[in-house]
């Protein structure tokens, strides 16, 4: 039998030194940003019952989940997402809490990705959930928080808005089976114009099919709304479009200099529990989205508490990757001082090191037999000062 004791599983990796600094810095910056807006942190278990993610709407495919069983044989999963566990908490322990609830988190999610594709199965996400408000200002607060999060990376970015309601309304007016609707959704998501046209042609020509055909091409700036307006078949859908236009107009001024805000009416991802506004964030030069979120007014009701919510998650791994690609990793930090004890003065050396630490220095105890090895080690690790503790100097000064 082969032993796998020297490698990590596919889709996982060890982070060392500078990589940890980058990751923790990003996590800390984002969490501070969220907390400065009044969000409070929650931590949910890494393991959840499978049922939490297997609601009626089945947002997660079972083949993408890491599964195990508990001691009673019940099916568990490694958390593939933080929003659904938070929805569970809100519907149970926070049911009587005053609204709106502002929650934030920084935790790892696990999803199985296809092997050998260079993808990670273990992703750190930080995000916010704003629960209990349907007001426009709630949407704007979430969008501007997403924009500020990407501004903090120091890179050029773009925030993109969509509205899943427009697609849902359009497709509901089509006399199609659920599997045909799913096929149409997928073709819009992939902006596969040729195949989308072929499928929609089988439904004959109508305002609805014309609008659906155009939906994936309706992305870009403010001009998108003018183009979309004339395509929308009735007032109900126009209302949704106006809602998005209104948010877009206000959000445009909230992105700062490094960011731009765009719109894509063809954002219709499947695994989304979103019911209205959709938010995506991109970094220039990074091939995948780094922010994903939106409004999910029906999700918490699936846990028995009917309450609207909006939020987003930042893919911290993706940001780390972009940061590391843009520059060199920070050097491993060097201690300021190394303290070497002559034989018999070990306890004195440990005391001396402690005193120096209390003065604010980073201090290491030398673990060598002779002073030459200490000097070599200090040189290699770029430690500026070596202090020797022997009978003469029981107290160290710098």
């Amino acid at each position: 039998m082969r032993n796998y004791d020297l490698i990590t599983p596919e889709g996982t990796k060890d982070l060392l030194f500078g990589e940890c600094i980058v990751r923790r810095d990003i996590e800390r910056t984002l969490m501070e940003l969220f907390k400065s807006r009044g969000y409070s942190e929650v931590i949910t278990p890494g393991l959840e019952f499978y049922d939490v993610f297997n609601l009626n709407s089945r947002y997660f495919h079972q083949e993408n989940l890491y599964k195990l069983t508990d001691s009673k044989g019940r099916l568990l999963v490694m958390r593939p997402d933080s929003t659904m566990p938070i929805a569970r908490v809100v519907a149970t322990r926070l049911r009587d809490a005053i609204l709106p609830l502002k929650l934030c988190y920084a935790q790892t999610v696990y999803r199985t990705e296809p092997a050998l594709k260079g993808r990670s199965d273990e992703i750190v996400q930080t995000g916010i959930e704003l629960i209990g408000s349907q007001m426009k200002i709630a949407d704007l607060e979430v969008i501007s928080t997403a924009a500020d999060s990407l501004t903090a990376t120091g890179m050029e970015f773009s925030i993109e808005l969509g509205h899943i309601g427009i697609f849902k309304e359009l497709v509901s007016r089509l006399d199609a089976t659920p599997s045909e609707k799913e096929q149409i959704r997928k073709l819009i998501e992939n902006k596969n114009y040729p195949a989308l046209n072929d499928v929609l042609d089988t439904f004959g020509e109508s305002h609805v099919t014309t609008a659906l055909k155009k939906l994936p091409s309706l992305f870009g700036g403010a001009e998108v709304f003018d183009k979309a307006e004339e395509l929308m078949p009735d007032e109900n859908i126009k209302l949704l479009l106006d809602e998005l236009r209104d948010i877009y107009a206000d959000a445009s001024g909230l992105c700062g200099d490094a960011g731009s805000i765009t719109v894509d009416l063809g954002l219709v991802n499947k695994t989304d529990y979103y019911t209205g506004l959709i938010i995506k964030g991109y970094l220039s030069g990074h091939g995948e989205e780094v922010v994903s979120g939106g409004r999910y007014d029906k999700l918490i009701s699936e846990f028995g508490y009917d309450i609207p919510a909006v939020g987003f998650a930042v893919n911290v791994n993706a940001i780390c990757k972009a940061v590391e690609k843009g520059g060199i990793l920070p050097a491993m930090p060097s201690p300021d001082v190394i303290v070497y004890a002559e034989e018999g003065y070990e306890a004195d050396a440990i005391r001396a090191a402690k005193e120096l630490r209390e003065q604010g220095f980073v201090v290491e105890n030398a673990l060598f037999d002779d002073i030459d090895s200490v000097r070599d080690y200090a040189k290699e690790k770029k430690i500026a000062k070596v202090i020797v503790i022997d009978g003469d100097s029981k107290e160290a000064e710098i």
Binding site: K117, G118, N190, Y193, F219, T262, G287
Partner: protein, 209 residues
């Protein structure tokens, strides 16, 4: 300054057809035509860079965004799937996926599970799944036509262009699975972050198909 737009081409016939198309649009593709062993080639007057890769790799590079666009056959897209925008049917590289058996073989008779040999297990599986048919699928790397002749398989799912190879080996197409042609795919972030450049290029391409 942004790097040039990178377009990954599937080496071989699709590469030649695409270069022909780019030249029709007025791009100077001398470097691509005289490429030698180079794999990344500049198109000087277009702020464009051509990358030559195998079909599966075109998808991988575009998915990761290290190439903004790619030209790849629908056959590879159907087999590999992936997250990208499939914007244009380029119309060239036309052929089809088909189910073929030995001439005269009654494939759908009997209740025994049929064995299918193919280079495209995902395509074959989803084709039979839609029919509600449970099949055994065997992946073959080389000439798939051999499998039914050696009686390893009842049929094959493979790309058929003219059907000559099938005919010469006593096989025949009994059903079409899906039409195939070259597609222009685009990375999901590139399309948004460099919308003007990419849409401009696509518009030109569509006008010249």
């Amino acid at each position: 300054m942004n790097r040039p737009i990178r377009i990954a081409l599937t080496k071989g016939r699709l590469e030649k057809d695409t270069v022909g198309l780019l030249e029709k649009l007025g791009f100077d593709c001398t470097a691509v035509r005289e490429k030698g062993r180079k794999l990344i080639l500049p198109v000087p007057d277009g702020n464009l860079e051509v990358v030559l890769a195998k079909a599966n790799d075109v998808i991988t590079y575009v998915e990761h965004g290290v190439c903004d666009m790619g030209v790849v056959g629908k056959d590879t897209i159907m087999e590999m799937q992936g997250k990208f925008f499939e914007l244009v049917d380029l119309g060239f590289g036309r052929c089809k996926f088909a189910l073929a058996t030995k001439k005269g073989y009654d494939f759908y008779s009997g209740y025994g599970i049929k064995t299918i040999a193919t280079k495209y297990p995902n395509v074959a599986r989803s084709f039979f799944e839609k029919k509600g048919m449970d099949t055994e699928i065997i992946k073959i790397e080389g000439s798939v036509e051999l499998a039914p002749l050696l009686e390893l398989a009842d049929g094959i799912v493979d790309i058929v262009e003219t059907g000559t190879t099938l005919k010469e080996n006593g096989l025949e197409v009994i059903e079409d699975v899906a039409p195939i042609s070259a597609r222009l795919i685009v990375n999901t972030v590139s399309l948004k972050m460099r919308q003007e450049e990419i849409e401009g290029l696509i518009k030109k391409i569509e006008e010249n198909l």
